[in-house]
């Protein structure tokens, strides 16, 4: 699904933010991406959603070398990736409904289908009554949920979520994690950047740990084991 080989990234003339990143994510896998603030999680995500090209190294996605791909193909590829941005990036002039509908519209799906899908998903994330509301009049958590809904609406093959529960309480956070789990079971590869220890502990997926620009993969912990330990 995703293969990084000796990948490095620097912004402008600054130092390398990511150095020698090497990893492979299998299709249908589920990963947490963690690491201290400023360690490069968002930067790594950016490379994965094709928002930047790496300054060096080889990125292979969906079995194709990104560096040599044509523009049109890149666009098609991006349509298969859902992203929850750390700062949401909602379109402020569009209602919650239109924001969530955007990926389907870009894919050129019929309006009827869009309406049904979007309405149902907004209901699911608890925003059924806010579908005609503009982002700027929503609370932080509501905006975050719109961003999540937008990322998953087109049932992407790859879902990248950057701190998707930072503004949400545990209850709704877990609910959304379950949404990601369902998506994962339908075949979507998922990477979630998070600082939330509780969620990482609850859902025992493998962790990619970033520290000062280098990546370390921790084997998935046996979380039932951990949970049992927690009880005693």
């Amino acid at each position: 699904m995703i293969k990084f080989e000796h990948v490095g990234l620097r912004y402008g003339v600054g130092p390398e933010v990511l150095t020698d990143i090497d990893f492979t994510l299998e299709p249908g896998s589920f990963h947490f991406l963690t690491g201290p603030s400023g360690s490069g999680k968002t930067s790594l995500m950016t490379l994965m959603y094709l928002g930047r090209k790496p300054t060096r190294g080889l990125v292979t996605m969906f079995g194709q070398n990104i560096n040599q791909m044509e523009r049109d193909k890149l666009a098609t590829l991006r349509q298969r990736i859902g992203v929850v941005f750390q700062d949401f990036r909602l379109l402020n002039h569009l209602s919650a409904f239109d924001n969530v509908a955007l990926p389907l519209r870009i894919a050129g799906r019929p309006e009827k289908e869009i309406k049904d899908n979007v309405d149902e998903l907004l209901e699911w994330v608890g925003l059924g009554e806010h579908k005609n509301v503009l982002p700027l009049t929503m609370s932080g958590g509501q905006q975050q949920r719109v961003a999540i809904a937008r990322a998953v609406i087109a049932r992407p093959k790859l879902l990248l979520a950057d701190e998707p529960t930072g503004n949400l309480d545990d209850e709704i956070g877990f609910r959304l994690m379950n949404l990601f789990d369902q998506l994962n079971r339908m075949g979507t590869t998922i990477v979630i950047a998070t600082h939330n220890q509780k969620i990482m502990d609850e859902f025992g997926h493998s962790r990619l740990v970033l520290d000062s620009g280098t990546l370390k993969i921790e084997a998935p912990k046996n979380w039932i084991q951990k949970k049992i330990e927690g009880v005693f």
Binding site: Y49, V83, L91, P110, E111, L121, W124
Partner: protein, 314 residues
């Protein structure tokens, strides 16, 4: 509950409802300014075109009406400073008239009435019988078939044969000046049109680039969500086209109104400078071409600007 389970009726969905822009273009700051600018450009173009057309038909009128005309003067004094009598002058004028009316290169020749000539001098001498006693020059107005070197030479020769003192006065020099002036003005009008074209391209390109800068985040987001260049370009291009349409229509109407007013006023003053502005098919086509061209320019300028900006995104 699984919101991702496909439902049957979803697949049967039909495209309906009106699509708006994904980008907040309509609320964009500067749209009004751009419309006004394009309206102004169109207005100027229409004025330039109108001027050009008016000058064109004026030139035509002059060329056809005056270029082939000349005035012949039979002076009241002979070569040797002696005066001619009135009868002598009249005889000479008659001879010239007869002789010239035979010539094939002359279209018409008319002797000016003595009364006409007296009217010209009257202010200085007052009216009265004194004029009857003063020997006045004789004047003839000639119209040539074509006014070229050879026919003028022939005319000069014919006149010299009749009498050496007869003077020929063609309108060539001042008419040439006027034609050169209108030519320059028409050239200026063309130049104005050219500048208008460039300004429109520059303004639209600048405005679109500004929009791209203002809405950079939105454009980038669409790009990241997999919207193709065409998808994004289409929105901005349509936006520019709408602005172009609005602006150029306003400009066209304003221009036509002002041209109409000028024609009306000029008609009142006797059309001395501006000739009656015959609406010809060519003029109508020209007037319609201006807004069309401006719309095309605006939309193409938008297209290339957007594509250039998008090319910088990975």
């Amino acid at each position: 509950m699984n919101p991702f389970k496909p439902k049957k009726d979803r697949r049967l969905g039909v495209a309906e409802g009106k699509r708006q822009y994904d980008l907040p273009l309509n609320k964009s700051i500067g749209t009004g300014f751009l419309v006004v600018l394009i309206a102004l450009m169109t207005f100027l173009a229409i004025m330039a075109l109108g001027t050009s057309f008016a000058l064109g038909s004026m030139t035509q009128r002059w060329s056809s009406g005056l270029e082939n005309k000349a005035t012949i003067e039979v002076p009241a004094e002979k070569n040797d400073s002696d005066l001619r009598t009135k009868n002598e002058v009249n005889a000479l004028v008659e001879r010239v008239e007869q002789k010239l009316s035979d010539q094939p290169y002359i279209k018409s020749v008319t002797a000016l009435d003595q009364g006409d000539i007296q009217a010209l001098i009257e202010p200085w001498l007052g009216q009265g019988e004194i004029l009857d006693n003063i020997p006045l020059p004789g004047l003839l107005s000639v119209e040539l078939q074509i006014s070229n070197e050879s026919s003028l030479a022939k005319l000069t020769k014919t006149l010299a044969e009749i009498d050496e003192t007869i003077r020929l006065d063609t309108h060539e020099s001042w008419l040439g000046d006027l034609l050169r002036l209108t030519g320059a003005l028409q050239f200026a009008a063309g130049f104005v049109l050219l500048i208008i074209g460039f300004t429109t391209v520059a303004a639209v390109a600048g405005a679109i680039r500004t929009r791209m800068a203002v809405h950079n985040e939105e454009v980038e987001l669409l790009h990241l969500m997999g919207a193709g260049d065409g998808y994004i370009t289409r929105q901005l291009q349509r936006h520019a086209l709408m602005i172009g349409l609005k602006g150029s229509l306003v400009g066209l109407i304003a221009g036509l109104i002002v041209l109409g007013l000028i024609a009306l006023i000029a008609g009142d003053t006797g059309a001395a400078l501006l000739p009656d502005f015959h609406i010809q098919l060519g003029h109508i086509i020209g007037m319609i071409i201006v807004p069309t061209l401006i719309c095309i320019i605006a939309s193409m300028a938008a297209r290339f600007t957007v594509l250039r900006v998008l090319a910088q995104m990975p």
